[in-house]
C-alpha cells in the first residue's frame, strides 16, 4: 500500500491530517445504528448475568475442591497445612495464586501458618494494567508485600516491573527491596503474582503505611497501604550477647540480636587487629534445639568492620534455644593490588593466575575494564567478591590518584565457578600502568563456629 500521507513535518500538518480523518470517522460514528446499539446493551446485560452465574458455580466448585484438598492433605499428612493457613487463604481474595510463592519463603510460610498476615485487597487501574496489593506481612524490621499485576501482555518472564516504595508522606524508605521471581500458580499471559521483600535499614521504624508504585510500559500505578501496627507492636525481643568468638584465626564480637516475627538481626563487628580481610561467612545460619535451621539472608554493613546479618526468624515457633553457627570464612590477604596497562590492554601484575584481564574497551568518555576472577566457590556456594572497593580508587605510574567513576557499574555474573566484573574509569591521558587496590580476593578457611543467642 502506498503511503499517501507522506512524512509529517510539523504539528499543523498532523492536526490537519487528524481533522480530515476525523471528519470521516465522526460522520460514520454519528450514524448510530440505534437498533443494533440497543441490542448490544441488552446483550451486555445478559452476558453479565451469565458470567455471574458461571462465577458463582466456579466459586462453589473451588470451595468443594479446597475442602477435598484440605481433607486429603490432613489424611496423608504429607504437607503441614494448618487450619490457620487455610483460614488465611480464604480471608485474602486472590491469594490462591501465591501458594507456591508462600511455600518457597520460610517467613511467609510461617506467617500464614500463624495467621500473621494483614489482608489488603486494594487496587489501582490504568489504561492497560491493574495493580492489586492482596496482603502484607509486617513486623518492626521487615515487610512483605504480596501483589498481583494484570494486563494484556503481562507475563512473568517477559518483564521486570520497577517498584518504588515510600511512606505515606512520599519519603523514600531506607530499606533494601527484593523481588522473588518465583513461578506463581498462574503462568498464563495477562497475570503475574509476586511479592516484594522490604528490609528496613537499622534504626528505621516501620511506617504507618506505604505507597507502592509500579512503573511499567509507560504506566505508573500506585496503591496506598495502611500498616496495622497493632498486629505486631509488642512482638520484638532484644538480646544482649557481647561475646568475642574466634573463627579461622579472626576475632569477632557478637553484640546483640533483635528478634521479630519475620527476621532475626544479629549485630557484630570484626576486630581491627585481624590479620586477614574477612569477605564473607561460609554456611552462616541459626539453629534451634530441634535442629531447625534459619538461613542467613544477607545484611547491612562491612563484614570486615561493623555489620548486621539477617536471618529467617523462629519467633512465631518459640524455640527454647537458638545458636548462630558457621562453617568458616572467606578470607584474603590485606595489601593486594592489580596493575593494568589500559593503553596496551595488558595485565602487568596480579596476586596470582586466578585474576585475568578479559578486555579493555573505550566507550565515549569511559574506559571499561573487564576482569575475570576464579576460585571463589566453596561448599557449593556462590560468593560474589567485591574485588575493588565500591568507592575505590587507583593510581597511575606517577603516583597520582584517581577514583573509579560513580556511574561505573561493577557488574558481576557467575559462569562455571568464575566471576566477571566490569570497572569503569574516566578516559584520560594516564601515565601507565594503573594500579588498583584489591579489597576482596578468593580464599577461604574452614573452621566451625557456634555462638549461643538464647
Amino acid at each position: 500500500m502506498n503511503d499517501r500521507l507522506g512524512k509529517f513535518s510539523d504539528l499543523q500538518s498532523v492536526q490537519e491530517a487528524f481533522s480530515k480523518d476525523k471528519v470521516g470517522v465522526t460522520e460514520r460514528g454519528e450514524r448510530i445504528p440505534i437498533d443494533r446499539l440497543n441490542r448490544a446493551i441488552e446483550e451486555g446485560i445478559a452476558r453479565a448475568d451469565t458470567r455471574m452465574r458461571r462465577y458463582r458455580r466456579s466459586r462453589r466448585a473451588w470451595r468443594v475442591w479446597w475442602a477435598m484438598m484440605t481433607l486429603f492433605i490432613l489424611i496423608t499428612a504429607a504437607v503441614n497445612i494448618s487450619p490457620a493457613f487455610a483460614s488465611m487463604m480464604r480471608a485474602i481474595p486472590g491469594i490462591s495464586g501465591f501458594i507456591k510463592l508462600i511455600d518457597s519463603n520460610p517467613a511467609m510460610r510461617t506467617a500464614f501458618h500463624h495467621e500473621f498476615v494483614q489482608p489488603v485487597h486494594l487496587s489501582d487501574e490504568g489504561l492497560a494494567y491493574k495493580l492489586t496489593v492482596n496482603g502484607i506481612i509486617a513486623d518492626h524490621q521487615r515487610l512483605l508485600v504480596l501483589y498481583t499485576l494484570e494486563g494484556g501482555d503481562i507475563h512473568r518472564s517477559s518483564m521486570s516491573p520497577y517498584a518504588d516504595i515510600t511512606d505515606l508522606q512520599g519519603n523514600q524508605l531506607e530499606a533494601a527491596l527484593m523481588y522473588s521471581y518465583f513461578p506463581g500458580e498462574q503462568e498464563s499471559e495477562g497475570i503475574m503474582q509476586d511479592y516484594i521483600d522490604v528490609i528496613l535499614a537499622e534504626g528505621v521504624e516501620m511506617p504507618d503505611g506505604i505507597v507502592l508504585s509500579m512503573h511499567l510500559e509507560g504506566e505508573r500505578l500506585q496503591v496506598e497501604v495502611p500498616i496495622e501496627h497493632e498486629r505486631f507492636k509488642d512482638m520484638v525481643e532484644v538480646i544482649q550477647i557481647n561475646q568475642v568468638v574466634e573463627i579461622a584465626g579472626q576475632k569477632l564480637t557478637i553484640e546483640q540480636a533483635t528478634v521479630t516475627p519475620l527476621q532475626v538481626s544479629v549485630k557484630m563487628s570484626s576486630h581491627r587487629s585481624n590479620p586477614k580481610h574477612i569477605n564473607a561467612f561460609i554456611g552462616l545460619e541459626l539453629v534451634d534445639e530441634e535442629g531447625r535451621r534459619y538461613r542467613s539472608k544477607g545484611g547491612f554493613g562491612d563484614v570486615d568492620s561493623s555489620f548486621t546479618k539477617h536471618f529467617d526468624s523462629p519467633y512465631l515457633i518459640r524455640p527454647e534455644k537458638l545458636s548462630m553457627v558457621a562453617k568458616g570464612l572467606y578470607l584474603s590477604d590485606r595489601g593486594l593490588s592489580v596493575t593494568i596497562d589500559t593503553e596496551k590492554k595488558q595485565l602487568i601484575d596480579a596476586p596470582d593466575e586466578r585474576l585475568m584481564l578479559a578486555k579493555v574497551t573505550e566507550v565515549g568518555d569511559e574506559i571499561r575494564i573487564g576482569i575475570t576472577l576464579q576460585g571463589n566457590v566453596a561448599h557449593n556456594e556462590h560468593v560474589f567478591l567485591e574485588l575493588l572497593s565500591y568507592d575505590g580508587g587507583f593510581r597511575d605510574a606517577s603516583g597520582k590518584e584517581y577514583k573509579l567513576l560513580d556511574t561505573g557499574v561493577r557488574n558481576g555474573s557467575f559462569r562455571e565457578g568464575s566471576q566477571q566484573m566490569t570497572y569503569i574509569i574516566a578516559k584520560e591521558q594516564y601515565k601507565q600502568p594503573l594500579t588498583f587496590d584489591i579489597q576482596e580476593y578468593p580464599g577461604y578457611v574452614l573452621d566451625d563456629m557456634s555462638v549461643e543467642i538464647k
Partner: protein, 174 residues
C-alpha cells in the same frame, strides 16, 4: 423484608439502565473512533455494559458514573485492539463502508499509522484529536497526571514522525 429489598434493587437497576441509555451515543462515538468499524464498536459497547452491570454495586459515588463507565470502555477497547492485532494484524480494509474513493487511501494510511501506535498512545490520540478532549479532561478520565498525558501525546506524535514543540503543546491545552 426480602421482597422489599428485591424491589429496591429492581428500582436501582432500572435507573442504571436509563443512565446507560442516556450515555450510549457517547460510548458508541468513542468506541467507533477507536475501533473504526461498527461491528467492533458495538462489541466494545456490549462488553462495557457487561462489566458495568457486573460491577454496578461497587460504584461508591453515583456522580462519577459517566467517568467510570468511559474508563471501563477505554479498557475494553485497549484489550480488544490488542487481541485484534494478534489475530489479524494486516487486515485493515473493513473500515470504509459508503465512503468515496477520494481520500480513502489517506484514511487507510492514517489508520495504519494509528494501528502501529502502542494501545495507550492510540487511545490518548483518539480522545484528544477525535473526541476533542482537553489534556485535563483526559487526565481526569484516565486517572493519570496531566504531565503523563502530555508525555504520551508527545511520544505518539513522535512515533507518527512529527515534531511537537512544547510551547505549541501548552497553547493546545484548554
Amino acid at each position: 423484608m426480602a421482597g422489599l429489598e428485591r424491589s429496591e434493587e429492581k428500582k436501582h437497576d432500572h435507573a442504571l439502565l436509563e443512565r446507560i441509555h442516556a450515555e450510549k451515543a457517547k460510548l458508541y462515538g468513542i468506541a467507533y473512533s477507536y475501533m473504526r468499524n461498527e461491528a467492533d464498536a458495538l462489541e466494545a459497547v456490549q462488553e462495557t455494559v457487561c462489566r458495568v452491570w457486573q460491577k454496578r454495586h461497587t460504584l461508591r459515588n453515583e456522580q462519577f458514573f459517566s467517568t467510570w463507565m468511559v474508563r471501563i470502555l477505554i479498557r475494553v477497547c485497549l484489550d480488544a485492539h490488542k487481541k485484534r492485532k494478534r489475530e489479524r494484524p494486516m487486515t485493515l480494509f473493513n473500515s470504509y463502508e459508503n465512503v468515496s474513493d477520494r481520500g480513502m487511501e489517506e484514511r487507510l494510511d492514517m489508520e495504519r499509522r494509528l494501528d502501529q501506535l502502542p494501545a495507550r498512545y492510540r487511545m490518548i490520540v483518539i480522545l484528544k484529536y477525535y473526541q476533542d478532549m482537553t489534556i485535563s479532561e483526559i487526565a481526569e478520565l484516565t486517572g493519570k497526571p496531566a504531565g503523563t498525558i502530555k508525555t504520551w501525546i508527545h511520544k505518539a506524535l513522535k512515533q507518527l514522525r512529527v515534531d511537537w514543540d512544547e510551547k505549541e503543546g501548552r497553547a493546545d491545552e484548554r
